[in-house]
Symmetry: C2
Subunit: 208 residues, 2 copies
Amino acid sequence: MAGRTVSNSVIRRLPRYYRFLSELRQKGTTRISSGELAAHMNLTASQIRQDLNCFGGFGQQGYGYNVDQLQYEIGRILGLDTEATAILIGAGNLGQTIATHINFKKCGFKLVAIFDQNEKIIGDTVGDLKISDMKDLSAYCRKVKPDVAIMCIPRAHAQEIVDELLACGVFGFWNFSQRDLVIEDERAHVENIRLADSLMALRYHIGK
Amino acid sequence: MAGRTVSNSVIRRLPRYYRFLSELRQKGTTRISSGELAAHMNLTASQIRQDLNCFGGFGQQGYGYNVDQLQYEIGRILGLDTEATAILIGAGNLGQTIATHINFKKCGFKLVAIFDQNEKIIGDTVGDLKISDMKDLSAYCRKVKPDVAIMCIPRAHAQEIVDELLACGVFGFWNFSQRDLVIEDERAHVENIRLADSLMALRYHIGK
């Protein structure tokens, strides 16, 4: 795949491009100029051109971008055209909401298993998956080799479970625990969702 | 309050400092050097000193930082020592999880009302709050002037509700909808939680 060395800030913008282009498609818009894209994204037109040049262009001078094609290409770059596998660790309130609220397919994933250590909920169904016992996590991962683990567990246990997963060959982490995970394996990648940090930053900005 | 013009990247780091210092306190650690803080935060010691100098220092040469005092001061800078008010818009799966999962007090907030347009759940209780009718949103906001609205609604309606809230004097938004909100009022501040964008970025990084 092209563009593996693209800067992280460009990659961060790709889902936003993708999302906005989806909206345009739904409205029936077939092409858009870099200027219009820029206005919506709060970027300059030249920044847009630079971003998209990282992946080989797509625009035509004086015509702008073909919305369908650009969305398709960005989706392909992100990997949304193929399904990676994800498992959910922790089926409490937050975990269950993530399992049911997120459109995994749209993000290039399939949720394939859910684990929890709480005996009271093991065997319960969330969406179309049964909650499995955490004791079976390692055996499952060595066999299935899921691409990503979604960490919806209290921070006290997050690190030890990450270490267990790394040992089983799981290298992708979508981390909702407030813990900063320590991962030295270069093959690993972590995306953090820090709800409390975000709310505290907002608390700062509203002042009072 | 000092530091209103501090750069956004410093402000983003303050909750992480705060969180790490809380962990240190729980372990009984009373002081820490900028070098140790740096190692944990994946920053350089000089960056740490620079960050904290924005707010007037706190460290002593050769001694490091007093953990209790530094945590207290960062909390005060963020505004966590006083309670701002938040209302939740949208009491579906995600909204209810946010209402019950987030420790608002710890983040300097009190959740004071929940609104939804779904007649089937209006009047139901979430945590210790009753779900109110969206029809009463404007009247409520004009009276109570909540500081922040937590947007947990589908993107189709996000913008019109934001416009309604702005007109009522609500200027803080914690936005979980996938929509990019258009807000031109300079008094407003938005913090976005983009779950799908984050998952797509992870999809990119794991490759395949």
